[in-house]
Amino acid sequence: MRSGVSAPERPRLADRPIFLPALLAALLGIVTPPLVRAEHFDIKLLAAGPDGVTQEAYADQSPPECGLNPRPVLKARAGQKITMQFIMTNVYPHGIAKNAGVHYYVVREKEAGQKTLPPLSQGVVTEGTFTFNLKPKARIGAREHFVIREPGVYLLRVESQRTQRDHEHFSAIDLLIQ
């Protein structure tokens, strides 16, 4: 498991091939994506600013709720378009977890790297959930463009839910909006 590895100056996310073909190709075994192996979930989370800078984060686990690994920080300006993309892969080879979920969101937080999760009752920029029967090798992915209009620090996080294990996996990046 690896987390919090930043990779500045990567090619723009927007310039990369669309992600459904990549996902389908990976599912068909045509391509083996360079995901880092985790105990149950591989997660690759990307956040890209308009200047081409991209930050990446990989799987961590909770509890504790914010994991153990430091989060990378993406800097951008208020009003600029930010792209987030994640692909999660279930690498646990046994059984199906019925009614499992994936939850992702961008929400305002007090400071970069804070160790408590901010409430989702206010300051949410975007949020989404999926509910499904999680089978071995299943993949779930999403890409979304969004704009943050108010300067501040925001948490971008994607997390597994209801996987019927004693812990869940997540990946997160702090967004510093100036």
């Binding site: 459904l20 389908l24 993949r139 969004f146």
Partner: protein
């Protein structure tokens, strides 16, 4: 004499048989309809802007789609589900693909292929046992003004069901 009796018997039997056959046909038709609907895979899409909610369910390739009007930067809330019928076949490796992508005109027949600039795109893969269901719920900011297609579709259902399923609507952003 015998012929007359036979004719009368036939008319009598016919008089009884016709309503019975009609009732039987109606029952069979209803049964088949129920069966068909019980075995149908369902995809439904619902989207809400500040002023309206639109719903699309098991869309066909018809020229008319619901239209959700909204303004650039305003929030759009989307909910979708896909479910296999209780008595449907088990279908493995179905991808549920959801996207919002710009289109040239409201109601256009051609489905735009989502690009890297698509405001939203997601995919998940699961096996649909009979009665299995998957849902998605997300918010997004309406992108720049224009016409967009919001669509949820199956990829891989046709191998068991003979066709893919989708639900779609147009989003008009002003």
């Amino acid at each position: 004499m015998l012929a007359a009796l036979q004719a009368r018997a036939y008319r009598k039997a016919s008089a009884v048989r016709t309503p019975v056959m009609l009732a039987l046909s109606a029952t069979l038709w209803a049964g088949f309809s129920l069966c068909a609907s019980a075995q149908e895979f369902t995809v439904e899409l619902q989207a809400s802007s500040r002023s309206q909610t639109q719903t699309a369910r098991n869309s066909q390739a018809a020229p008319t789609r619901p239209v959700l009007p909204t303004g650039a930067g305003e929030p759009i809330r989307v909910h979708w589900f896909a479910s296999n019928a209780e008595k449907g076949p088990a279908i493995s490796d179905v991808t549920l693909h959801v996207f919002l992508e710009k289109e040239n005109a409201i109601g256009q027949a051609a489905v735009p292929k989502p690009s890297a600039q698509a405001p939203y795109e997601s995919a998940l893969v699961m096996d649909f046992e009979p009665g299995a269901r998957s849902t998605g719920d997300f918010s997004l900011q309406a992108p720049e003004a224009g016409n967009y297609l919001l669509r949820v579709e199956t990829i891989g259902a046709s191998k068991k069901l003979g066709r893919e399923y989708f639900a779609a609507m147009d989003v008009k952003i002003q």
